[in-house]
Amino acid sequence: MHRLVSVSSWLILLTLASLIWQLVSNSLPLFATPKVSLQEQVLLPAGKIMHIGDLAQNGFVMVQQTSDDEKDCPLRFLRLDALGHLVEFGMRANACQTKLMVHSFQGQTYLFSISREGVATLENLWVADNTIETSQLLSFAINKQYQYKDIKLSMSRDQLIVATKGQSDVWHSYWTEMDGAQDYQEHNLGRADFVLPIAAAGRIVLASGNNLKVLGKGSQLLQDISLEADVTQMHLLSSKRSFVLSFSEHNWQQFSLFNKGGELGFHPTYRPDINAATSLLVTNQTRGAILFADQHNRLHFYNSGTGEVLRQQPLTRAVDYVQWHNGGLYTAADRLVSIWSVEGMSQLTSLKSLFAKNWYEGYRAPAYVWQSTVADGQQPKYSLVPLIIGSFKAAILALFIAIPIATSAAIYTAYFAHERLRNWLKPAIEMLEAVPSVIIGFIAAVWLTPISDSFLLPLMVFILLIPVGFYLMSFVQRRLVGGLPKRMRWHWELLFASLALLLLMAIVFGQAGWLNTQLTSWLDWQGDKSTLVVALALGVAIAPTIYSVAEDAIHGVPQQIKNASFALGATRLQTLQNVVLTVSLPGILSGITLGFGRAFGETMILLMVTGNTPIAEWNLVSGIRALTANLAIELPEAQPASDLYHVLFFSALLLFAFTFCINGLAEWLRIRLRRNYQDV
């Protein structure tokens, strides 16, 4: 028996331990630093690497063979076979003088070529039945006088921008619609060190020296920015709405497209503090991650939202080609292709990305944003700040209502009320605690919220009128009470107070319509009135908790010290103020702390009554989404072991830790209270 009994208590310890372990172990992956590890290496045939697809997911490699006579430079297509060997499965004849460029867009591979005769062709490439298939999408003749030194290409769903660099280093741009319905437009861009066409944004970015120009479709100058240093590299990020500049001073700057002062343009965002010249750069924008290699062959993991470099990892050798697919990171040096797996990506979420303002792409300024479901290709935003603020706001709102009501009620029940009254009043009020919060939430959501517009202001008037009304009444009370039958003069306050309250309520809410129109025009109230419903519903839910603890504390004050106070000639009120409340203060505070904890952890009322909009403002009348409600909304949909899953577990851990501290505080206050009782 003894053993069985002690096993049960070990079981409880085990439960709490596994609860904490579960929360912690599911949050830890967030704080692991990402790293790449080499999976395998394969050797390519000699030639120029044109494209490395996602080999793990049936992608292919494209190599352009070079020849000495500069006549025939065929394209060779290779894939991994079942054994992991790279085998050639297709070949395509190609003249050396045809300029080629491979472009990936929305998971498809496109081949763009300009022949010696000046015919530009855009083809779609795919693999079917172990052969390479192509289909021509666009073909148009461009000026063949230019001997192309370089081609830049960018496509979006509906347009294609090509930029070519001719013999005399002059760039030309060609804009064409993807449906081929209209002729292309050609513009002379002049000389530039770097050109970056961005079709998705409908812009071309030119950099020469320390000058940056952004051109629109008609080649009109949209932005002219002078930089602090000369540009040495320019990279487009995979989202196609941001690019990164490297400067000669070995640092770099991120630019994003967003609306500033009514004008959509590229504006500088983060300027990370890295003393390195970037050479190669790949991005995975759905994770907000950028990987780049510097001149010292180090790989940097960079979070584009927070501007932090999370990890530097040395690579064994220089890299001259890099691709990042879902299946892994592919780097190539000479003919050796290395396939790396990227681990711990679910955290690029650093503490900074959870708790600091992040400058997300397309945002005017750094902001706290919680947005777990986003459009394709965008980065989910996991800032916990709006949720924490939401929880605090809701709890504070509830305390506004609950503290005055619950503590006053506790004082009355424990100190003024007759013992017989207390015996039924206390259980009756505590019954409120038993009401399932889902019912309070339901009534608030279905009934109060729709009418909150019309009752909010009258309610405020009512709340203000209560103290004023009872104060005025205290002047006439003596005369009123004097008129009552003798046995009703004592201990009937509750009944009369209820009646007075109902009367006041009837007067105020009877005139609610009139009051509302008067006050609305007078106060010019703006804001979300449903926050008051939150305060009311949550306040009613936590008031019994505060009441119960505070009442016990006040009632527990030893009778002899009250008697001592009365014996010294103190009135009931003076005794209350100077003796009872002083002694029981820690207990009342403990009740308030517990009530705060309960409001912070309450789920259903917040879920049903608030609009669940995560807004990081302390303004009490703006939207609220609490940590708890967020868990109830997001966790059923979260894929186990996904980023969101870990972030949610971390938020649950925060909730746990916070309520743990709150309960500890309440416990400590209770110990103080007990000491107070003993001292006197």
């Binding site: 609860l19 619950a406 019954m431 889902v438 009534i443 107070a497 209820s498 007075a500 003076q574 746990f656």
Partner: protein
């Protein structure tokens, strides 16, 4: 402001604090009455009025309507037209005239739809019948339906099976056995057709308030009542009857009508399972803490644990239940025992058992604290008496302490059940759904399906808050669900309070 004489100050404080107590009391009562008032229109057969009003589109219109509830801003609510799922809300300013006709009926269809109609004409197979024969005809029609059902099961189904077997054996289409079977099948079908035609002969023509006719086969009608002809007694009986239907019937019309049986069943079953888990564990832990525990670090650790478990937000238990119980433990069980079904999870997805276990953890502190209180109230003299008679500690606990502490234990278990019945947040994560296709108990092995998802009253209310229209049928239904949940929780709490106060009185000295 408080510079008045002490007497006034004191009476001000007393009346203000008593007013605050009154606010809490009024809030509690108002909440209960509000739920009661709004759910009553789901049970209580309201009088039906003929309301004339001005419609924005149609102009002058007339409908049969009942008074709207407090939760609605409208004055009148008219039930749906047949096969049109809308309700008409009439506001005070639209209304022009009301009368209370005697013959208007509340018609409940088999699919849960409710309509207010006047009885116009009644038909059976022979022709028009007197309107007073409605109940008789409904009984006859029901009998006929029974007959058709029996006919289908007893006659047609075996024939169907026979033909199927013949076909599987590859019998030729013109083989004698097949021919005989087909001929018999056709005969029986003709008989069935006859019966069906007969059934269709039983029909009612109803009339909407605007005079439009609505023919309905009697077989589609579940109940017809005439609330305006009923007195208070028969209305009360009807309300009781409806309450019974509410707790015993399936939800219909997408949780707008019918009953909540699956949700009630799910709630009760989950709570029972939970109390099976939490009771022994909680009692043993309390006995350890109170009777055995040495004053050491483990004991104080256990006490801290229990205190903290009580303060953890319920949703965190849900998170734990999902992450640890469902994905880790459940996933492990699937790997071990149900690997043939993978990747389809058996226990690796939210279900009844995990919900019960999560709730057991949530309510564990309630049971422990209450049991300990029960143990504390056992007078020392009784223990000493037991020891004096030579009983060991174990015998003392079993035969003396536990029986006396049993009301305290019971209080704890009841409070735990009440808490579990009303708690919704963790259940959203670990297995309660707004609609479960099957009950967790049925006739197929192993009868009790611990891995199934289940319906829960609280989850139903939560879901209803997002879909319920203000006032009207669906909010009535949701309020009725609230009422049921409140009834369960309050009853359990009152029982617990009663037992506890009895216990306190018995061992007060």
């Amino acid at each position: 402001m408080f510079s008045s004489v002490p007497f006034q100050r004191q009476s001000f404080v007393i009346s203000l604090t008593s007013a605050m107590s009154a606010i809490l009391l009024i809030a509690m009562l108002a909440l209960v009455f509000f739920v009661l008032r709004n759910s009553s229109s789901y049970f209580w057969p309201d009088d039906i009025y003929l309301v004339s009003y001005k419609d924005e589109l149609v102009g002058d219109a007339q409908v049969y309507a009942r008074r709207a509830d407090a939760a609605s801003q409208a004055t009148w609510i008219s039930k749906a037209h047949y096969q049109r799922n809308n309700e008409v809300f009439i506001y005070q300013h639209q209304q022009t005239d009301i009368v209370q006709p005697q013959d208007v009926a509340e018609v409940v269809l088999t699919d849960g739809q409710i309509m207010y109609l006047a009885l116009y004409k009644l038909y059976d197979t022979e022709g028009i019948r007197a309107n007073s024969m409605l109940l008789e005809l409904m009984a006859t029609s029901a009998e006929l339906q029974q007959r058709i059902h029996r006919f289908r099961v007893q006659q047609l189904a075996p024939l169907h099976r026979r033909i199927h077997v013949l076909e599987r054996q590859g019998t030729e289409a013109d083989g004698p056995a097949k021919l005989a079977a087909t001929a018999e099948f056709e005969d029986r079908m003709a008989e069935l057709d006859l019966l069906l035609k007969q059934l269709q002969g039983y029909k009612v023509e109803f009339k909407y308030a605007d005079g439009q006719l609505q023919p309905l086969p009697i077989s589609k009608i579940e109940r017809v009542i005439f609330p305006n002809q009923m007195n208070v007694l028969s209305k009360s009986l009807e309300a009781l009857h409806r309450f019974w239907l509410f707790v015993s019937d399936e939800p219909k019309q997408a949780n707008r009508a019918g009953g909540v049986f699956p949700a009630l069943f799910g709630t009760v079953l989950m709570v029972l399972l939970m109390s099976l888990i939490v009771t022994p564990l909680g009692i043993l832990a309390a006995i350890y803490l109170h009777e055995y525990a040495p004053q050491n670090i483990v004991t104080s650790l256990v006490r801290t644990c229990v205190n903290n478990l009580a303060g953890i937000p319920s949703i965190v238990f849900g998170v734990f239940g999902l992450g640890f119980l469902v994905y880790t433990l459940g996933g492990g069980i699937d790997q071990l025992l149900f690997s043939q079904d993978l990747p389809n999870p058996t226990f690796g997805s939210p279900g009844l058992f995990w919900a019960a276990l999560t709730m057991a953890l949530l309510t564990l502190p309630v049971v422990i604290v209450s049991t300990e209180e029960g143990l504390r109230r056992v007078p020392k003299s009784l223990r000493e008496g037991s020891y004096a008679l030579g009983a060991t500690q174990l015998e003392t606990i079993r035969h003396t302490v536990l029986p006396i502490a049993s009301p305290g234990i019971m209080t704890g278990v009841i409070l735990a059940i009440a808490r579990a019945a009303g708690e919704v947040a963790p259940l959203i994560l670990v297995g309660a759904v707004k609609f479960a296709p099957a009950l967790p108990i049925d006739g197929s092995f192993p009868y009790l399906h611990l891995d199934r998802q289940f319906m829960h009253l609280g989850v139903m209310i939560y879901d209803g808050a997002f879909h319920g229209q203000q006032g009207g049928q669906s909010s009535d239904f949701m309020f009725a669900t609230c009422f049921l949940l409140l009834l369960i929780v309050f009853t359990l709490n009152l029982i617990a309070t009663f037992i506890r106060s009895k216990l306190r009185r018995r061992y007060a000295h």
